[in-house]
Symmetry: C2
Subunit: 625 residues, 2 copies
């Protein structure tokens, strides 16, 4: 079992919390998802990456005799993200199959590297001049994913094959990358910072710092109808007050900038990033935690531009958002960051993969309406897909799930902090905690002290901001902060936390126009939705929640795992009238009360589980009448 | 004064109504717009077309020695649409300047034509094989606009220069166009039908018929993330139940298919088209009449997918919608088509051009929110533009405004039908009517019989569907139909129609989720909006209309023409609270009444007039509280 962490600030870094490197998820909600990831998704990933030609590209590059590159310019990154997933998974539990897959691919990567350390098969095979198309070639984007896979390999398995490749590449970049070069797709910044953390080679951090500071000066060439903001090149990060442009790129850059701020103890940069994060949460985040509301350019819209239907909410953006929030959590110790991480993991990352682990959403819309254009390839009505031509999301989910253990808890001089609740254990120095819970289905979390030093320390447990009925050992808790218990703990001590998971109705601020007059259902950390399959005889688009919704837990849903708790609400369906077939606007002066069916029970299911019984009309927001 | 029409079905065509070829707008609302079109927009168009290189392309093609083509593949069409506008304008009133501009450009077009009749400067200059890229090259799209300009030239001025060019081209197409060839951008179908009407050359109609029937068989190659629907190539028109894909292309094709159905007396095709029109109106039309809700692909979304913010509502789509509705009106005589034409002209075409006539919207959003991303080139917050790289819209507005006289009225064996109300006169055979009105500001329309035969005939006047308070000579009228008066008229007879123009609140059907809990303001045929500039100290996004809105006409608005009548409504503004700066979603169980400012007067202005005092936040829909 690995006792290392996906993010490991140096001793001198400006952080409030440090990762607790011995988190381990065992069973429960997330354990089941990790098992599927290990048994189905990661092996499938190897197959799909092979079929895409990404291994073949490396083989051709290794031979050095040219050849046709297959797939996208960033095909190498699929290999690296999958390798990172395998590495963390081996750290969770070694297996001969995983080790063999890993070592074979790592050697292949090593063999493809140019003598001077450069590695990017598309450039190597096409013969394009290196660094001649920084805006689009993705050379450094791929380098970043290589570095992250290398660090994972070292930390989780001790295997240094990729670390050698990554450091050679990084050394080459430090030496030969053109001054001021920036990649159109940020990602190398956070990777260089972590490689620095792993190796202590300061020039890696300096290069990352230079790239973070160089951003926002309209240096990259423009593309399509987009301005420089699409690539985070409009406003320097220190001056920016919000996030903008391509959501995945924005999040990777923000994560890297936060790494840089932490390692350089640069409080000015950190403050700017924290401000951007708060603005993002207040004005550009979906209820699910999903990011990016504009399909064209996969980008953030303006403030409160959050259409459920055109939601882009790329799975990768959600994953990168978790990366960023975790770094800000380490820096500040504030629970808001863990709140968003949890919301995002359950409701923006997890919907990206089927319950069976073998089908994927790239775009995570919050609404699919009835009668969607069958020709519309934007539409989530098409359901999850086997794989994608641009296959960034599936291996990204793999590496996040296999590294999820690292995000459970942190430590500080004062004690241990629990941020995410999952069945398993947490080691932090000479403290070992066991966590027993059926969360998120049940709010009860038992924390048992298995090992403890013989002096006082503080156990901090996050009380999510939605948990207005949380109690700990009978005491009412304040939501939206950590509940802290300081004492000299004894082995066998036990804390009974109950987060008060129960269904609730959620509304939005008035400026969020697309949610006006509507409500959503949540339960614990889960956002729920209405699916067509649960409402035969009526159209999801016509369903509304009655003011006396009387939310209650439902019985298991056929076709979903039995532990999934649906929420039942009182509702009605708008009944279509003949004149609804005409012009859909009418004068309000002679108000016509919409006609409804009689009361019906609406069944809300967790959004992450939607489209596992066929895809069809779905909505998170429903009108209240 | 021209006495001909933009659409002229043949004697044997299956139509209920025939154009009244002597419509003439004089003064009033539309007369003022036509004057600006003549004095400012059309001369500016010539300059912009010259600057774009479109004339230079024709000169190079004329020389036949090759050379670099400038602008888009469809640059020729800008010349043709501008020429069509000049032709109709010369028909309205001849002028030496217009005649000189027209003749010079027409001769230039003629000189560029290949000996066998082919004409498409991009293909001629690049040397690409003719008809080798039907999906994208726009050869027939340009041919169609040439034919329309040619027909306009003949009908409005008697000048046959372009008609010779167009018939040579059409003869070449009949002879040499590859069998089954379809253009990616429909438009030639309606043009061929009209050229047939003008010349009587039946093979032109047969070619148009073949193209209409060939559509919808997945013949055109796919493009980007789009399926065949983007180019109306998924479902044959006879089988389609709705409109889909690129909105402008869909509308031009539908207009052409209606021409074909009319001339072939093909009731099956006509019924299918009428069904598609009704579905479009019921599920895919904005309150403004605007069409196309999806930015990506400039296309229709699914039913009720009508986001005000991402509204594409291309000016050209609105113009083509007017073309289609007019043809269905001729075919059926039903007032619903004229209703949509009027709505579209005022609220979807007219916003595309500034009051000064020299700036243009390509995309007509129904909402611009505060804090829109300054980098977002989609945003209407950037205001109208001088011109566009793809300059389809500006000359399209020019030709529609200069041909608007043709859409006022029709005739039938039974009499004369007035569809649009504008100050001016209508001649239909031996009937001459004079119309005196300040419409749309005032609902009073005086219709004076100036010439009449000495036998009974029916005067039909459209009562718009919104006009629930219309009276004629004191008698209450039924909205949404024609009011018919049959008698033996005498010169000097006068009818006093009052359509009861007054401000009203408008709501949408429940399925139209983006309008839930919200209202719009209309007055007569005009849709209104809230602009930021009229509401200092508050943000438009925060404004709401109170239930007791007490709408009333306001006093003239500084910065807008004095005849523009604003509407004043009682409203309030949501007051932002400190906690609004956090996560924008909250549990509804402890309802918090939104806090408001005290009562304030909201000033609604006509949507077509927005962004003439600077662009900024704007909305058509506002919440009602």
């Amino acid at each position: 079992m690995s006792e290392d962490s996906v993010v490991r600030p140096r001793a001198e870094a400006a952080v409030t919390l440090r990762p607790a490197p011995g988190g381990r998820i065992e069973g429960g909600f997330w354990g089941a998802r990790q098992q599927v990831n290990r048994d189905v998704t990661i092996p499938l990933g190897e197959e799909r990456v092979r079929e895409s030609g990404a291994f073949a590209n490396l083989e051709l590059a290794a031979r050095g005799a040219g050849g046709e590159h297959r797939g996208k310019v960033f095909a190498d990154s699929d290999v690296y993200k999958w390798l990172e997933a395998v590495a963390w998974e081996r750290g969770r539990a070694e297996s001969r199959d995983l080790a063999r897959s890993y070592e074979r691919a790592a050697k292949l990567v090593e063999s493809a590297q140019a003598p001077d350390g450069y590695l990017h098969t598309h450039t190597q095979l096409t013969g394009r001049a290196r660094y001649s198309d920084m805006a689009s070639a993705h050379e450094l984007y791929c380098a970043g994913h290589l570095m992250q896979a290398a660090v994972a390999g070292r930390r989780a398995t001790g295997d240094d094959t990729l670390l050698r490749v990554a450091t050679r590449f990084a050394d080459h970049l430090v030496k030969d990358l053109p001054p001021d070069a920036l990649d159109g797709h940020p990602e190398v910044e956070t990777a260089l910072a972590e490689l620095y953390r792993e190796t202590g080679t300061r020039p890696y951090l300096d290069l990352a710092t230079r790239m973070v500071d160089g951003r926002g000066r309209e240096q990259l060439p423009l593309k399509g109808h987009h301005g420089p903001g699409i690539r985070q090149d409009r406003v320097p990060l220190r001056e920016a007050t919000t996030v903008e442009g391509h959501a995945v790129r924005a999040m990777y850059l923000a994560a890297g900038a936060t790494d840089v701020a932490i390692e350089n103890a640069d409080s000015g940069l950190l403050d700017a990033l924290a401000h951007q994060w708060r603005d993002m949460v207040a004005t550009k985040t979906y209820l699910t935690g999903g990011l990016g509301s504009v399909w064209y350019g996969e980008q953030f819209g303006g403030p409160h531009e959050l259409s459920p239907e055109t939601a882009y909410c790329e799975t990768c953006a959600a994953i990168a958002s978790v990366h960023w929030s975790w770094r800000l959590l380490l820096a500040t110790g504030q629970s808001v960051y863990a709140d968003l991480m949890e919301r995002t993991l359950y409701n923006a990352v997890l919907p990206g993969i089927s319950l069976t682990g073998d089908r994927f959403f790239y775009v995570n819309a919050l609404r699919v309406r009835a009668g969607a254009n069958p020709d519309d390839r934007r539409s989530a009505a098409r359901g999850r897909q086997d794989w994608f031509g641009t296959a960034c999301c599936p291996p990204n989910v793999m590496r996040l799930l296999s590294s999820l253990d690292h995000y459970l808890a942190t430590r500080s001089d004062d004690g241990v902090q629990l941020h995410l609740y999952a069945s398993g254990s947490v080691r932090a120095g000479d403290v070992l905690l066991q966590v027993e819970t059926d969360y998120p289905w049940n709010g009860r979390v038992e924390i048992v002290v298995r090992e403890t030093p013989d002096h006082p320390w503080t156990l901090s447990a996050r009380i999510p901001s939605w948990a207005d009925a949380a109690v700990i050992d009978g005491e009412e808790l304040v939501p939206g902060d950590y509940h802290r218990v300081r004492r000299t703990w004894r082995t066998g001590d036990r804390i009974s936390l109950d987060l008060g998971v129960r269904p609730r109705l959620t509304v939005a601020v008035p400026r969020l126009d697309v949610a006006r007059g509507q409500v959503a259902v949540e339960r614990g950390p889960l956002v729920y939705c209405l699916e067509q399959t649960d409402h035969p005889g009526v159209i999801v688009d016509d369903l509304c929640v009655t003011a006396d919704a009387a939310l209650r837990d439902g019985t298991p849903v056929p076709g979903l795992p039995s532990e999934v708790v649906p929420v039942i609400a009182r509702g009605r369906a708008h009944a279509h009238r003949d004149d609804d077939a005409g012009f859909p606007y009418r004068t309000a002066t002679a108000p016509r009360e919409p006609e409804h069916t009689g009361p019906i029970d609406l069944r809300f299911v967790p959004y992450y589980a939607w489209a596992n019984r066929g895809a069809g009309p779905m909505t998170i927001w429903a009108p209240m009448h």
